[in-house]
């Protein structure tokens, strides 16, 4: 069953086309990798799916409804964004960061309610990072931060997770654990959509790969089949 779809999306910036005629539909529980060279349009697709950008042409559909008319908080309760594990200026505790996922429900409440706290603890427990709860987010390693941001997405209650190059800055073991976790979540019915720069790991881990080249979809299919040596070479202009 399709949960999130792009329908003939076109997007340009300063008159330069970034995406042209991009269409795909993602079903519940699918685990989709977006691959392509830098500048191919991967991040633009993520930002359109999160409504951080508005398409110039075409529509983004969530359960068949256009994202354009959807309320901010409703969207937040359905689709969660997991950015790269970044630095934050102020020394928030991990529990505070995770509890922010509940914000869409309790926008003007100045206190973190017992329900928020329980949801945050449940999300951290689910990812087995409960021991980090009282640490300062700023003091964590990249891998730990990535885990915290995924926990926040779970606390948000969204069933669709959108991740931006989640492996960036992680060592081999951290990357492996992260991809295992993503697969595990997909197994639980979460829909996972991630950009990645690692075609070999994507071929092994993801159920589906969408390959972008110069703003158009080059290939779209089961990750193991689509990501052949030949397509990877074409994708990254690495023929020679």
């Amino acid at each position: 069953m399709t949960v999130l779809a792009m329908d003939r999306i076109g997007f340009s910036r300063d008159g330069r086309p970034i995406l042209q005629d991009v269409s795909f539909a993602v079903g519940a529980g699918e685990m989709v990798a977006l691959l392509g060279a830098n500048g191919a349009g991967k991040t633009t697709i993520l930002r359109l799916l999160l409504r951080l950008l508005h398409p110039g042409r075409g529509k983004v559909l969530l359960d068949g409804r256009s994202l354009a008319g959807m309320g901010r908080r409703e969207l937040a309760s359905r689709v969660a964004y997991v950015p790269q594990g970044h630095a934050v200026t102020f020394p928030y505790k991990v529990r505070d960061v995770v509890a922010l996922g509940r914000l869409a429900e309790t926008m003007f409440s100045p206190i973190v309610s017992a329900g928020d706290r329980a949801a945050a603890d449940a999300a951290m427990g689910h990812l087995a990072i409960g021991h980090l709860a009282d640490r300062s987010y700023a003091a964590l390693s990249g891998g730990e931060r990535q885990g915290v941001l995924i926990a926040r997405a779970l606390a948000q209650g969204a069933r669709i997770l959108v991740l931006d190059e989640p492996e960036t800055g992680l060592d081999y073991g951290q990357q492996r654990r992260l991809f295992d976790l993503m697969r595990h979540l997909a197994g639980e019915g979460y829909t996972v959509i991630a950009t990645t720069h690692d075609p070999l790991r994507a071929a092994r881990t993801f159920t589906r790969a969408i390959l972008l080249r110069r703003g158009r979809i080059m290939e779209d299919g089961p990750a193991g089949q689509v990501l052949s040596e030949q397509t990877i070479a074409t994708l990254y202009d690495a023929d020679a």
């Binding site: 930002r47 999160l50 409504r51 951080l52 901010r72 908080r73 969207l75 937040a76 309760s77 689709v79 969660a80 964004y81 950015p83 970044h86 630095a87 934050v88 200026t89 102020f90 020394p91 928030y92 505790k93 505070d96 960061v97 922010l100 996922g101 914000l103 869409a104 309790t106 926008m107 003007f108 409440s109 100045p110 206190i111 973190v112 300062s136 700023a138 948000q156």
Partner: protein, 340 residues
């Protein structure tokens, strides 16, 4: 768990109690010292048991002279501190002060305009408030000329606006009557609570309290904003409305203080750091705690201003010097949490 919960409550309640105690103590301080018993007697029992002359004297000193000043110090200190904490949150930068977008320069210019134009006390207050708002509007306007007002462009707009209004202020100083008006401008710029009276307090206390409550209610959304604009948006936060809303409220808060008390700058930068040190970075706590600590700090400074020497020292000077001392001494602790 229970210990942390208790600390979480005490850290908000204790400063409020301290502030109230400091306020009562401050009533006794001045050229005519008044004992605690007399203060309680006059405030609570209308001076029962005193001679008529003494009761009248104490009522004049305590209620008409000192009380407005004490309330004024608390309100001005609280407003500047909350304003600074709000600015720091929306700009994701702990080194930002309420003056960032030009409100202080603009308010200074407005006040000088009032003094040079012989607008009277009320006129100076109003022009100063309007000048502060105008300067921030100009700064934001410049930022929006270039793009959708990113943080960097807002800082740039504030720099440009501050420079412009500082230059205009200099121009007014140059043309001001050096015998009569120039000393007024200079003294006003030093910052002082001597001119604060009951009508001033009536005019500013409601908007200041309202602003403090409003910003505190936005605390969790400001926490989300600390993660970055995009993340906050995907968590359902109306980022543009929140940023401009906080800028407007924080600007009104600081412009109001400048209009009655002149330039008292440092507090807005320094107090939120102390609040974060005590209560952690969550804005729903940092904002009300900043109000409390800022009020207490400026009250303490004003007590010093009117008691250290026979000739009163402008409280702005004391607040700056003490503020720097406090800031430097807490910086080592505060910096621990800053990223890299």
């Amino acid at each position: 768990m229970s210990l942390r919960l208790w600390y979480g409550r005490l850290v908000l309640v204790l400063p409020a109690i301290l502030l109230a105690g400091l306020a009562i103590m401050s009533l006794g301080i001045g050229r005519y010292p008044v004992g605690f018993g007399d203060i309680v007697s006059v405030l609570l029992h209308n001076g029962a048991g005193m001679t008529v002359e003494r009761r009248a004297l104490l009522q004049t000193i305590l209620v008409q002279t000192r009380l407005p000043r004490i309330v004024g110090a608390i309100i001005v200190g609280a407003a500047l501190s909350v304003s600074g904490a709000g600015y720091q949150a929306v700009f994701r930068n702990p080194l930002v002060s309420p003056g960032l977008l030009g409100v202080l320069a603009g308010a200074g210019f407005g006040a000088a305009l009032g003094i040079v134009g012989d607008a009277g006390a009320t006129g100076v207050h109003v022009l100063s408030f309007l000048g502060g708002g105008l300067a921030v509007a100009a700064g934001v306007g410049v930022a929006r000329l270039f793009d959708k007002a990113s943080i960097l462009m807002l800082v740039f707009g504030g720099l440009v606006s501050s420079a412009l209004f500082t230059a205009l202020l200099s121009l007014l100083k140059y043309v001001a009557d050096p015998e009569r008006q120039l000393p007024d401008i200079v003294f006003w710029l030093l910052g002082s609570l001597t001119q604060v009276d009951m009508p001033d307090l009536m005019a500013i206390s409601a908007p200041v309290l309202g602003g403090i409550v409003l910003l505190s209610l936005c605390g969790r959304m400001l926490d989300a904003l600390a993660m970055g604009d995009d993340e906050a948006r995907t968590m359902g936060v109306p980022v543009g409305v929140l940023r401009y809303g906080v800028i407007i409220v924080a600007t009104v808060l600081s412009a109001l203080t400048v209009s009655v008390a002149g330039m008292i700058g440092w507090i807005g930068l320094m107090v939120p750091h102390v609040a974060r040190l005590l209560a952690g970075p969550r804005n729903a706590r940092v904002l009300p705690l900043s109000a409390c600590l800022g009020g207490a700090f400026l009250l303490l400074c004003d007590d010093l201003a009117r008691s250290v020497s026979a000739e009163e020292i402008p409280v702005g000077l004391i607040a700056d010097v003490l503020g720097v001392a406090v800031f430097v001494s807490v910086l080592r602790l505060v910096r621990r949490g800053w990223a890299a």
